[in-house]
Amino acid sequence: MSDSNNTELMDLTFKSIIDALPCYIMIQDPEFNILFANHKFKSDFGDDIINVSCYSVLKGSRSQCTECPVRETFKDKKVHISEEIIRLSDGTIIEMIAYSAPLFDVVGNVKACIKLLVNVGTIKDTHRELVTLGQSIALLSHDIKNILEGLQGGAYVVEEGIKDKDMELSGKGWDIVKKNITEITGITQNILYSAKERKPKIKNVSPGDVARQTGQLFAEKSSYMGIQLLLQLNPKVPHVKLDPTGISRMLGNLIWNSLQACQKNTERNSHMVYVRVDFYDNRHFMFEVEDNASGMDKDTMKNLFKEFFSTKGNSGTGLGLMVVERIVRSHHGKIDVLTKPGKGSLFRIIFKLDHKKLDLV
């Protein structure tokens, strides 16, 4: 085989290799314009990216990124690495590790930079899952220990009451036992919900009926806690496509959070929790759970839907709102949280009245 044939083959092989690599490779000039991109890059971002700036293609931005490994490479002629979040043309967001390396001209100046982007989303997800798992074990064991303490304590009070034939004391002990059974039931259900993605079982149901049935589950508890639980359900909201079990769990978590927030709030003597179903606008309806407890500060709001974030100390795992968020997401709904420190909080869940993406079982 002649030398020229060999070179041709080598050129073809290199291009095939670069195109076949499951990562993005591009070459940029000092103005960050893309001079070359491999097949994978072009298939995700389109063919019209040559001579377009990297930040415009990858970030949809008009200005340079604040942190850019390519800029650093042009400055110091060294290899730089950074983490980047990229939005694909279909809206998918991916986490990537970016490597940039200098391409020198014959006199040793950096003529261009080669940038390689590797998707590390799966690794990041695994990392997050492991961190969450670690936190969950620590927090759940703490929480379950507190519940066991509550069960033991309640049982002790029941026994003392029986010993003295003091039924009032036994009744108080039994209330403690029941409250802790409710806690462990809620935690178990939330663990089951959060342990894996659960496909919603969509049925045609009345949101008012779901809210009424869920509210009834908390009637006795709220009465024992001295909190008024009020249902305000607009009967005109029609049957809609929902997973009634999931929605009931969602409402149950919100109601229980509100009841506990009221119980913890010592600034007010009279507490109320409202559960509402009503129209949001002519295409949407909403569930609302509102309390007049102490409201939330900015930090709490920021961390609200993070897994295992809780302000409830001994009585919360932080799983509840994460489960709420997951259920709302599975129904393609939206959560609004309105709160005012010292006044109370309102959780509003908005769903479409006629959701075409939800398939009936």
């Binding site: 507190n146 509550g150 304590g153 009070v157 100390g313 001994n314």
Partner: protein, 130 residues
Amino acid sequence: MAKDILKIVIVDDNTDYLFTMKTFLSRNGFEVETAPDGQAGIELIKKERPDLILLDVMMETTFSGFEVCRQVRSDNELKKTPIIGITGMEDELGLKFDKYDDADYFSPDVFFDKPVDKDALLKKIKELIL
């Protein structure tokens, strides 16, 4: 002269725990007063001048057990009151509060980890105040 009935103040943000411990200690001959948070706790301690304080260390209230302890220890009339610190964390996090360096800031006489062994607690209370 020793008092006939010894008084214990319990400060804990878990109202069920307060009720259980109040029942237990009352039935063992103590007069018991309770407070559901640190602020109410320090006010109650100043008012009641108890013989012993049972204090939840990590209360999720604006006024923690650490602060209650600091205020008791910095009050000349209260500072010798025995404090039993209740923690839920020693075995979970490996924290040992009895080795805490800043003894002036946070210095309960003894610690118990949740769930509390009631008999061991009663024995310790008797050792401290009887």
